[in-house]
């Protein structure tokens, strides 16, 4: 069984640029959540999408946006990149909207220079 897949695995961008990260959840899972993990810290919640609608949002600026497609895959977009956006971006897949186990992908390592 395929787990949560994220692409790309690594990315280097310049300040001010825009980036799109992709996630495919576990087959049958309808919820995708995005987290940012800065080096040496725990993951921080960015968004949850369930059935193509935003169901939760963390304390992140409007430069961060996401969407979920009919096949439940998801994209995270970050505009006007700052150096501080450098982090591991994690996607978590869950079966339901709430109360179910979350399984993480391997992450996308974003470096902003």
């Amino acid at each position: 069984d395929a787990g949560v897949t994220q692409s790309p695995t690594h990315l280097i961008k310049t300040r001010g640029q825009q980036v799109t990260l992709r996630c495919s959840p576990i087959s049958g899972h309808k919820s995708v959540s995005w987290y940012q993990q800065v080096l040496g810290q725990g993951p921080q919640f960015i968004f949850q999408y369930y059935e193509k609608e935003e169901r939760g949002r963390g304390n992140f600026p409007d430069r961060f946006s996401a969407r979920q497609f009919p096949n439940y895959s998801s994209e995270l977009n970050v505009n006007a990149l700052l150096l501080g956006d450098s982090a591991l971006y994690l996607c978590a897949s869950s079966w339901g909207r709430r109360g179910t186990e979350a399984f993480f992908g391997q992450g996308t390592r974003l470096t902003v220079v």
Binding site: Y35, P43, A92, G107, R109
Partner: protein, 113 residues
């Protein structure tokens, strides 16, 4: 009120010993408490989780102890092995609203021979 406090920051245990990691939370709405294991360059992997209706849950060498009145929970790793060397994160979620998880700051465990 959303914080989850985790200790210790790092831990060195001899092979065969018991590793103990502690977490405390403030938000009484939290009702789901998972533990994740993360190796360098990888996403967090779900180890074990507990809900407040039980005080202890055991899966293999991993045990969660939960104290609802103290708002504390801990992970015990019995017979610790060098392969257990990783960073461990506790987390907490309010399953009544969304699948958002609030993570602790992590404990870096090193198991020596």
């Amino acid at each position: 009120q959303q914080q989850v406090k985790q200790s210790p920051q790092s831990l060195i245990v001899q092979k065969g010993g018991i590793s103990i990691i502690n977490c405390a939370y403030e938000n009484t709405a939290f009702d789901y408490f998972p533990w994740y294991q993360q190796f360098p360059g990888k996403g967090p992997a779900l180890l074990i989780a507990i809900r407040p209706d039980v005080s202890e849950k055991k899966e293999g060498r991993f045990t969660i102890s939960f104290n609802k009145s103290a708002k504390q929970f801990s992970l015990h790793i019995m017979d610790s092995q060098p392969g257990d060397s990783a960073t461990y994160f506790c987390a907490a979620g309010d399953t009544g609203t969304a699948s958002k998880l609030t993570f602790g700051t992590g404990t870096r465990l090193q198991v020596t021979l």
